[in-house]
């Protein structure tokens, strides 16, 4: 190469290696970062009507627990996630039902109905929710979540509409 005042041989090599290195860095970096971040974006299109028990099995006036498991199969890997809650029948009327999730809105422990305290108690940080799921004391910032969509089928099963957040 004859001498050029545009760019020395050394600078040319520097720039070329820099550019190729940069491109390779991106080519490797994007898949790695994407691969690692993907779980945060994975949408589990999970929507379903889930039977949680016979309507008549739930006593009127007292919250009764239920739970169900959703299983996701991903290749050889099966992941089961458990959900639970409480059904409160206010009267004979199958419309008059309050269904609460048992997942504490503070840090996700499971609350229990306590008959003596007339409230839901969370064992983790001493929270108390009313029978309606409102926070009475303790650290949770929000009331218990409600399953608002539910129905009773011909056979008398209570079903809730489950939508994964």
């Amino acid at each position: 190469m004859t001498s050029s005042n545009r760019m020395s041989r050394r600078d040319f090599i520097k720039v070329t290696i820099g550019a190729i290195g940069g491109v390779m860095g991106v080519l490797l970096g994007v898949p790695v970062v994407g691969y690692l971040l993907q779980p945060a974006f994975r949408k589990q299109a999970a929507e379903a009507w889930i039977p949680i028990g016979k309507l008549e099995a739930f006593t009127i006036g007292i919250p009764s627990p239920f739970s169900f498991t959703r299983t996701k199969v991903n290749g050889w890997e099966r992941t089961a996630t458990s959900y639970g809650g409480f059904v409160l029948r206010r009267s004979e009327d199958p419309k008059e039902i309050l269904i609460l999730s048992s997942r504490c809105t503070h840090l996700s422990c499971r609350v229990n109905w306590n008959e003596a305290a007339q409230g839901y108690l969370c064992p983790c940080h001493d929270a108390k929710f009313s029978i309606e799921g409102e926070v009475l004391s303790g650290p949770p910032p929000e009331p218990l979540e409600r399953y608002n969509e539910f129905k009773v089928d011909e056979d008398g099963n209570l079903l809730i509409f489950f939508e994964e957040a």
């Binding site: 589990q44 739970s67 992941t79 422990c109 983790c124 650290p139």
Partner: protein, 468 residues
């Protein structure tokens, strides 16, 4: 090997030849040989050939950094062999631990060693940090090594937290559920972060696999890399800081002695003594294991790992954004920034800097010792911010407002020190750090010894035994 023309040397046994290849110079007989051995060996050359006698004093470093390294080695060895009997899947993980405990030769012992070394490592690493803090050893030129150390402490906590999930028992499941739920309170990215950590909406098989791969590869590799750099930096920064008594005005001149045997011998004795103690402890005290994880039932009480119980105690009193993110974030920031605003080289190597510094430290620790339990009791039985400020957002009424009320006295005390005693930066740092650290220790102790069912306050002897 004999060569043509040379007289054949006396025949040597195969073992002699092997030894010559491995240790070419033999064991050194004199100081020159000892120095050469340090310089020529990969492991030993982390040390200088000679060290000032004074820095070898037990009562200066207490051997805490070295013990951390010993524990990491034990963790590495026991962890790698535990892998032979462990499957990161639900529910196999739990069954594997049961099998390990009952049917694998020495399985229980190896697991106990891993468990207790991991727990001891947290205590030892924190004490090491306290020692470096109290002797001002983070000041220039050692800022970078302080940062690396603090980074390693974060990684050690992460290693412990990810390891905690692996046995997949009730303890594991609920501690991780509560711990990772804190993530969802991070402003804006919360939901996203918690999904990323859990690999799904709840703690489950994906979380186990995630934590497992972090626990056995990424975190230990990073710790190993940082540890090597940490040691090298100790040398580059001129060895340990020179210990100095409260009444010595000048850094003393100390005689230099050869690393072999003076330093190496101490290290070996110390390491062996601790390994022996750990072995005995691991033989006598089994690592806890509860029933298999049950996502429908939170145990009562559901406690975090003991080293996070100080934070859990804060969670009882504050909105999660304050207790789980803002307060620990500020503390971490202060630790990382420390060497950049507290830089006085004059008192490096002196425990507590000066007599006045020592009094201030004890004063602040004493104050925290009285005020922290008082505050826990007040908050348990009298204060109810959310009831007093109905309709206010929980972040204010249960978070920022009580936080401000709590921090105000600390600010006032600090002002008082500056006004009445002309306290300088290093004295204020001692005072505030002494207060905050003691308060955190007390909160941790409250969480471990005084919290029972429903997270109510109990006397330690009234606590039901865990798992029954």
């Amino acid at each position: 090997m004999t060569e043509e023309g040379n007289p054949a040397p006396a025949p040597r046994s195969m073992f002699d030849r092997m030894r010559e290849r491995l240790v070419p110079d033999g064991l050194p007989e004199d100081d020159r040989g000892r120095i050469r051995m340090v310089v020529n060996s990969l492991v030993l050359h982390l040390h200088p050939a000679k060290v000032p006698e004074r820095t070898l004093r037990w009562t200066y470093s207490w051997g805490l950094g070295g013990l951390s390294a010993v524990l990491m080695m034990l963790l590495g060895v026991t962890g790698i062999i535990l892998l032979n009997n462990y499957t990161p899947a639900v529910p196999q993980a739990y069954l594997d631990i049961l099998e390990l405990r009952s049917n694998v030769w020495f399985g229980e012992l190896i697991r106990n060693l891993h468990h207790w070394s991991a727990n001891l490592l947290i205590i030892v690493a924190v004490l090491h940090l306290v020692r470096v803090f109290l002797t001002g050893a983070y000041r220039p030129p050692r800022e970078l090594n302080w940062l690396i150390g603090a980074g390693m402490l974060v990684l050690v906590l992460a290693a412990n937290f990810t390891g905690y999930l692996l046995p997949w028992d009730q303890l594991a499941f609920w501690a991780i559920t509560v711990g990772t739920s804190i993530l969802s309170y991070v402003p804006l990215a919360g939901e996203w972060l918690s999904r990323l950590a859990l690999g799904g909406p709840e703690v489950g098989g994906n979380t186990l696999l995630n934590f497992y791969s972090m626990h056995i590869s990424f975190i230990p590799l990073l710790i190993f890399a940082l540890m090597s750099y940490h040691f090298w930096r100790v040398r580059k920064d001129g060895g340990l800081t020179m210990p100095r008594g409260l009444d010595e005005a000048e850094p003393p001149i100390s005689e230099r002695v050869t690393t072999i045997p003076h330093l190496v011998r101490k290290e070996l004795v110390f390491a062996l003594a601790w390994i022996a103690a750990l072995l005995v402890f691991a033989m006598l005290v089994p690592a806890p294991l509860e029933d298999i994880a049950n996502p429908d039932v939170s145990p009562n009480p559901a406690k975090a790992p003991w080293y996070f119980l100080g934070l859990q105690e804060l969670l009882l009193h504050f909105h999660p954004l304050v207790a789980g993110i803002i307060l620990p974030g500020l503390a971490a920031l202060a630790v990382f920034m420390l060497p950049f605003f507290d830089t006085n080289p004059a008192s490096v190597g002196v425990y507590f800097r000066s007599r006045r510094g020592r009094s201030l430290t004890f004063l602040s620790a004493g104050l925290a010792l009285v005020l922290t339990p008082l505050w826990v009791l007040l908050d348990e039985y009298l204060l109810n911010w959310s009831a007093w400020l109905p309709g206010w957002p929980a972040l204010l009424s249960n978070g920022l407002i009580p936080l401000a009320v709590l921090l105000l006295p600390l600010f006032l005390l600090d002002e008082w020190l500056v006004r009445s005693f002309k306290a300088d930066t290093e004295e204020r740092v001692l005072f505030i750090a002494g207060f905050v650290f003691t308060a955190f220790l007390i909160l941790t102790a409250v969480g471990i010894f005084f919290r029972g069912p429903g997270m109510g306050l109990y006397w330690p002897w009234e606590l039901p035994v865990a798992g029954h």
